[in-house]
């Protein structure tokens, strides 16, 4: 008897505790002295280092202790989360298109890309190949990827920002070949994706598939990801192959006006984004194998790892900017869908 009534009491206490906890949590979250940087997958190590430096820098300058929270995920998914209410103070995503979409919902102005130097991209990167040690399939350039028997690992451009850069680089290379036409370029990417056995949803998934599961002969990867894979999985297992030509990947950053005004963190957020352009940050950027805008402060050894190659920008008439590239290639019924529908 007693036991039963106690049970009832305990249960009621639980409910009460739950309600209190729920109430306490709802309006909580980051305080005024915190920033939320919503970023894409491969920048985890980069921003971990930059945030540490920024927090120290801010402390030295103002005496305030702040925290920078990080959220990582697929670039598109992250943009969507911000649109749906993830209250990012700054967004640092894989491609300008994702920021355009956020701007279109009025979270920051449409001309966001003009608010910071260099198209609001404090660093750039490119797409290279990661192959097995000794390059057994002798993969040198884009043309080798469509050979029979070569398996290419790349994520799904529909869900991964990096994968879109991969795809566009391949497209531009094909177009640039003597006698290249759009039809030939399409045939080329179609042949390339025919060699793709797995389409992971994100760049990191592809790297795991290639490096950990041992699937495929070549991984199309961000340059920094390729170096990271060497570090993580062993320099003795993989080689980086730099193709003759690639794309200039410009992962942009922006301040989310609507959220910083709400959080009253505009000053801090602006300082954070500006910090990315400082020599200190640029040095970190180079050390994480991204291409810094300002090479002056960077460690020459880091810079030596980043070879010069012919790069094409997204604003090149070949693509006509992100909005057009997205509509042409990646929208429902776009070229990417066509090459899969046609392959059947």
């Amino acid at each position: 008897m007693e036991r039963n009534s106690r049970m009832g009491g305990r249960f009621r206490n639980w409910i009460a505790a739950a309600v209190v906890a729920l109430g306490a949590l709802s309006p909580a979250g980051a305080g005024a002295q915190a920033l939320l940087n919503v970023s894409y997958d491969p920048t985890r190590e980069l921003y971990e280092a930059i945030n540490k430096a920024f927090v120290a820098d801010w402390k030295a300058k103002t005496g305030q202790t702040i925290t920078v929270n990080q959220a990582h995920g697929g670039s598109g998914a992250q943009a969507r989360a911000v649109i749906d209410g993830l209250e990012a103070d700054v967004v640092t995503l894989a491609l300008a298109y994702d920021l355009d979409v956020i701007a279109a919902r009025g979270l920051f102005p449409a001309d966001w890309q003009k608010r910071l130097p260099q198209n609001s991209t404090p660093y750039t990167s490119t797409i290279v190949f990661l192959v097995k040690k000794g390059n057994p399939k002798a993969i040198k350039d884009w043309g080798d990827l469509t050979r029979a028997g070569v398996q290419v690992i790349t994520p799904n451009p529909k869900t991964s920002g990096g994968a879109r850069w991969n795809y566009l680089a391949a497209w531009a290379w094909a177009l640039k070949q003597p006698g290249g036409t759009e039809a030939k370029a399409k045939a080329f990417v179609q042949a390339l994706y025919k060699n793709v056995p797995v389409l992971d949803t994100g760049a990191r998934g592809s790297t795991v598939t290639f490096a950990q599961r041992g699937l495929g002969d070549v991984l199309l990867a961000w340059e920094n990801e390729a170096f990271l894979a060497l570090d993580e999985f062993g320099k003795d297992k993989f080689d980086i192959v730099v193709p003759s030509f690639s794309i200039l990947a410009e992962p942009p950053v922006a301040l989310v006006d609507k959220n910083v005004d709400k959080h009253k963190t505009r000053v801090l957020a602006e300082a954070y984004l500006n910090f990315l352009y400082t020599p200190a940050a640029q040095k970190i950027i180079a050390s994480k194998h991204y291409r810094p805008r300002d090479t002056a402060a960077a460690n020459p050894a880091d810079l030596a790892l980043l070879p010069k190659l012919d790069l094409i920008a997204i604003d090149d008439p070949v693509f006509g900017g992100w909005a057009k590239a997205q509509a042409t290639h990646f929208a429902d019924g776009g070229v990417f869908d066509q090459i899969y529908a046609g392959a059947r």
Partner: protein, 294 residues
């Protein structure tokens, strides 16, 4: 079943299979279980300890991991009692009364079982997101649901919704209403009848439901991933932390955290087995698939 096996000294009893057939059946079942259940568990543990115990310990004492453990416990501590409250009331209404539309109601309770976690997450984003129906109002009043802890709780509650109700309903139906009627005739109020007669009789079903509900609440990934926003240390539950570590190529650490959840699963199962061993008879009636009243 084949009769081709050599006869032993005596023919087998008429209600069992011949020796060889019996062991062939056991062997097949055990092999299947090994292949599909034991090996994945072993894989998790072997990966978790692949870099040694030091790495393992470092991984599970990492501040972010500890935060994710705390968050996971918090989410479970709220969503499980909510579902218990629901499970008990729904079981009372469904098991003790006859009314029109019962099948539809039970089906609706089952529905979260088969709804894809992605859909589960999506519906809450559609509701509470900044572009959703009541999201803008919530944001104006500075109430955050999605991409904050309440969103994780709501999504988890959805995914674990049927467990308690589904365990309790069949048992309470089997038990009929005699004892409750007796209690009422003896002057007990409805509340007294429930706490003193119905609940003690259904306590094992309740406990089993809570165990499964809790295990699932702590392990939910898909739905939570959609509403989390992945803010490290703020909205990352253990499964999200596992994914995050995995995506950082910290496989050993990732599997170390996973092993904690696997351990939770094992503990759940051990508790369940112990209960069964001690209260076999009572629990036999309870021991049903969460989906199935048979």
């Amino acid at each position: 079943m084949g009769q081709a096996t050599p006869r032993l000294l005596r023919p087998p009893p008429p209600t069992t299979e011949p020796f060889a057939v019996k062991w062939a059946l056991i062997g097949t079942a055990v092999l299947f279980m090994l292949l599909f259940l034991v090996m994945p568990l072993a894989a998790v543990l072997s990966e978790a300890f692949s870099r040694g115990i030091g790495t393992y310990w470092a991984a599970i004492t990492d501040p972010y991991t500890l935060k994710s453990v705390r968050l996971t416990l918090l989410v479970a501590a709220i969503s499980v009692p909510l579902n218990v409250a629901f499970g008990m009331t729904a079981a009372w209404a469904i098991a003790k009364f006859e009314f029109v539309g019962k099948s539809v109601l039970i089906t609706l309770i089952d529905l979260p079982f088969s709804v894809s976690p992605v859909i589960a997450g999506l519906i809450y984003v559609l509701m509470f997101g900044a572009q959703g129906w009541i999201g803008p109002w919530l944001i104006d009043h500075d109430i955050r649901i999605v991409f904050a802890v309440p969103g994780l709780i709501v999504a988890t509650t959805f995914v674990t919704f049927p467990f308690v109700a589904r365990e309790m309903i069949p048992l309470m139906q089997d038990q009929g209403t005699d004892e409750e009627e007796a209690a009422i005739l003896l002057g007990a109020s409805g509340w007294q009848t429930f706490w003193r007669v119905t609940l003690p009789n259904a306590k094992w079903a309740l406990l089993y439901g809570v165990l499964l509900c809790n295990a699932r609440a702590m392990g939910e990934f898909g739905a939570v991933a959609v509403v989390s926003g992945h803010v490290r240390g703020v909205t990352t539950t253990m499964p999200l932390q596992i994914e995050m570590l995995y995506n950082e190529y910290k496989f050993a650490a990732s599997f170390a955290v996973a092993s904690l959840l696997a351990l939770l699963a094992v503990v759940t199962l051990v508790v369940k087995a112990t209960l069964e061993w001690r209260f076999g008879e009572e629990l036999a009636a309870v021991h049903r698939a969460p989906g199935g009243k048979v």
